[in-house]
């Protein structure tokens, strides 16, 4: 009974993500990521890799301008003004600005994903291994999920994009993942086809998936190794170590004090309690050190 469970674990229920095995069964796997912004050079290789791996449609210049691009991963640019706003300096007063900040933004695979409860047909749901899955075949295109996504990382097929792959380019499509037609929402899956493949292999060999066995396309392509992907339930994995080092855990918001003096780790829009599975490491500028 969900109600009983709610009352039994009331404190835990209020504090997201700590409800225990009953609520979210992450027995063996919980996929997570850490991205070091200090290493990110904004080269967009991850974006390209994502296009190639996930059969992302190329929408063309005109439609891209209309914000219809289908890039599951995008490099966001923010211009750091260098003004100390806390000291009352205005951004326009400081010149030259410090330069661009890059942040690769993709689906954060929130543990408490705002997109999941709003889908009328349950086309988006949470998998036991912590992924925020999107079932293309079930999607009817109400687009509520994208509206409710604080990261705006859900991409809608506003048109049919068959023409993205004029013959013989359709030959280079990844056979492990479907090509989506118009009217369907899609988003980053943490390269779920690779995860499934590795899990199947591990199952056949009667073992668990080893750290490093799965690489997401963006991670694989990143020239500076800024992206680390792995199993957060496995304490020895690189990503779990990264998380631990930064004292990052589910169920703790920034206000509750994982932000230590030394830590660089943060999760985006944490105050919304979405519990993202992606941790970013702040950029440290030479001038700041």
């Amino acid at each position: 009974m969900p109600l009983e469970r709610m009352f039994k674990n009331w404190v835990a229920f209020r504090k997201s993500g700590q409800v225990g095995d009953e609520y979210q069964t992450h027995k063996d796997y919980r996929w997570g990521m850490s991205i070091d912004l200090d290493k990110c050079i904004g080269c967009q290789t991850c974006v390209t890799a994502c296009y190639a791996e996930n059969n992302l449609a190329v929408v063309g210049k005109e439609r891209f301008d209309r914000d219809l691009g289908m890039h599951w991963m995008r490099i966001e640019r923010y211009f750091d003004t260098g003004a100390d706003i806390a000291q009352g300096e205005k951004p326009e007063d400081s010149f030259p600005e410090k330069g661009i900040q890059f942040i690769p933004m993709m689906c954060q695979q929130c543990e408490h994903a705002p997109c999941e409860p709003v889908c009328p047909v349950a086309a988006t749901y949470h998998t036991p291994d912590g992924l925020n899955a999107q079932v293309y075949n079930r999607c009817i295109g109400s687009r509520y999920c994208s509206n409710n996504c604080p990261y705006k990382v859900r991409y809608f097929n506003f048109y049919s994009y068959y023409s993205s792959w004029p013959s013989p380019l359709e030959q280079q499509l990844n056979p492990d993942i479907s090509v989506r037609d118009k009217g369907v929402m899609e988003k980053c899956t943490f390269c779920v086809q690779r995860i499934r493949q590795a899990k199947n292999q591990a199952k056949n060999e009667h073992r668990k998936v080893r750290d490093g066995e799965i690489q997401t396309a963006c991670q694989q392509a990143c020239p500076t190794q800024a992206i680390v992907f792995g199993n957060l339930e496995d304490a020895d994995s690189r990503v779990a170590k990264n998380w631990k080092k930064e004292q990052m855990a589910f169920g703790h918001t920034e206000a509750e004090g994982h932000e230590k003096e030394t830590g660089r780790g943060y999760r985006t829009l944490e105050d919304l309690n979405t519990e993202p599975s992606v941790m970013y490491l702040k950029r440290v500028r030479d001038t700041d050190v």
Partner: protein, 459 residues
């Protein structure tokens, strides 16, 4: 008061006047129908184009996943509110002046809901899979997501549509019997079938009264809940500007506001085209205006507390959205909505305006345009200033959305016009009751009849 319904009007005269309105219409009627049909066909063309090409034709984009369709949806659900809600509420409070108005108001409800129901469908990316939101049993054991406000929405709209149509039809049965007795040809067959063998016996009237009361009691809370549920589409999300506790009452107040204005518009049009001056009298219009004013003030108040809570709540995102509304590219529409929406109802305070048809029709239409803008200003600015600055963006409707929007107005008008030609648009039996009551029960109180009326009439 002057211009009340004549006390000595004959029952047969009432029948004749109302039944005449259903007979051969004037030329202008056909002109308007033709005009509406052509606009609707443009809308249908736009929808076919969008269906074939993709939702991108609606000029939506990534932050702006919802646009005018959803705004239209809220608007039409809102318009639908005043009819049934007011009819039921005024019935339960025994308000006498409701009697000549309520039929057309309820018809407006059903017609507006039929218009509203189109929009969630049009707006879907894969319309052909619409039935997936229905909880139908299937071999794969797939169910819709009952946590989704969209599902509640669908359930609420269908419930409201069926029950308000039932209410409309139920209240019409005695009138359908009158029509049956006076009609020939297909009309006689239709009314005969629909009147369900109404003979006006004592027992029938008794049961009819009870049933009507029951339906009214059921509809009143239902109508309030429907727009609250539409509001939860927004309030249940986490988006700044949508995630507001006061949104459901705000929606209901806004719905009543626009609905009352729509009733005034239709009232004047009906009064003029069908020469209903005898029945749709000025004192009733006067009361409708006062009601509109009162509801407008509730709406203004809810607006103000929303701003205040955003401003004093110091939520960064919420504030950003409010500032965006006031200073961003949508500012002209927003300010028009605020200034006119707050200011216009005040001219209804002036008695001269309440008696001036032209002033009233302009005011009521303006109020509806403003309320339409209000719905758009709920949907778009929030998405324009979402949590993620990199994804900020605007949505400006293109020809597809605009023509479908226009077509919805034409569709509404067309359905309403068809309704008033097929069914009696004034409740004959209730007007008679009202007059009977006035003649025999409260003869001394003719002058201020509505306030003192409290005893239900028995025939």
């Amino acid at each position: 008061m002057e211009e009340e319904i004549r006390k000595d009007i004959a029952w047969a005269q009432i029948n004749r006047d109302v039944l005449d309105s259903m007979m051969a219409p004037r030329k202008t009627y056909w002109v308007i129908i033709a005009l509406c049909l052509s606009i609707v066909s443009v809308g249908v063309y736009a929808e076919i184009h969008q269906y074939n090409t993709g939702m991108g034709e609606a000029q939506l984009n990534r932050p702006q996943m919802w646009g005018l369709y959803i705004a239209n949806f809220i608007f039409w659900v809102g318009v639908s509110h005043a009819g049934t809600l007011l009819s039921a509420a005024l019935f339960l409070t025994n308000t006498e002046w409701r009697r000549p108005v309520y039929r057309s108001a309820e018809a407006m409800t059903s017609v507006a809901l039929l218009t509203a129901a189109i929009f969630p469908v049009i707006h879907l990316g894969r319309v052909w899979d619409l039935y997936w939101v229905l909880p139908y049993p299937n071999e794969r054991g797939l169910w819709p997501n009952f946590r989704s406000p969209l599902l509640w929405d669908m359930a609420a709209i269908f419930t409201y549509l069926t029950s308000s149509m039932l209410f409309l039809y139920y209240g019409m049965i005695p009138d359908l019997a009158i029509s049956r007795d006076n009609a020939r040809g297909w009309r006689r067959r239709l009314y005969g079938w629909m009147a369900l063998g109404w003979a006006g016996t004592d027992r029938q009237w008794r049961n009819f009264r009870k049933g009507y009361l029951l339906l009214a009691c059921f509809l009143l809370p239902l109508a309030v809940s429907v727009h609250s549920i539409v509001a939860s589409d927004f309030a249940m999300s986490i988006m700044p500007g949508w995630h507001v506790t006061s949104l459901p009452p705000y929606f209901v107040a806004g719905a009543l506001y626009s609905g009352c204005a729509a009733i005034i518009t239709l009232y004047i049009i009906l009064r003029h085209t069908f020469r209903y001056e005898e029945y749709l009298t000025l004192p009733i219009l006067d009361k409708l205006c006062k009601l509109t004013f009162a509801i407008a003030m509730i709406w203004v108040y809810l607006n103000l507390i929303e701003f205040a809570s955003v401003w004093y709540g110091h939520d960064m995102y919420e504030k950003e959205v409010l500032i965006e509304k006031a200073m961003g590219p949508y500012a002209p529409f927003w300010w028009a909505m605020i200034i006119l929406g707050f200011g216009l109802p005040f001219i209804l305070v002036i008695k001269k305006v309440r008696r001036n048809m032209i002033a009233l029709i302009i005011t009521s239409m303006l109020i509806n345009i403003i309320m339409w803008l209000e719905r758009w200003m709920i949907v778009s600015p929030t998405l324009a200033r979402n949590h993620e600055p990199f994804s900020w963006g605007y949505h400006w409707p293109g020809w597809v959305e605009l023509s479908i929007t226009l077509a919805s107005f034409a569709w509404f008008t067309m359905l309403f016009l068809i309704f008033v030609k097929i069914f009696p648009s004034i409740s004959m039996y209730e007007v008679k009751e009202m007059l009977y009551h006035r003649r025999h029960v409260s003869d001394r109180l003719v002058r201020d009849l509505p306030e003192t009326e409290s005893v239900p009439v028995k025939e």
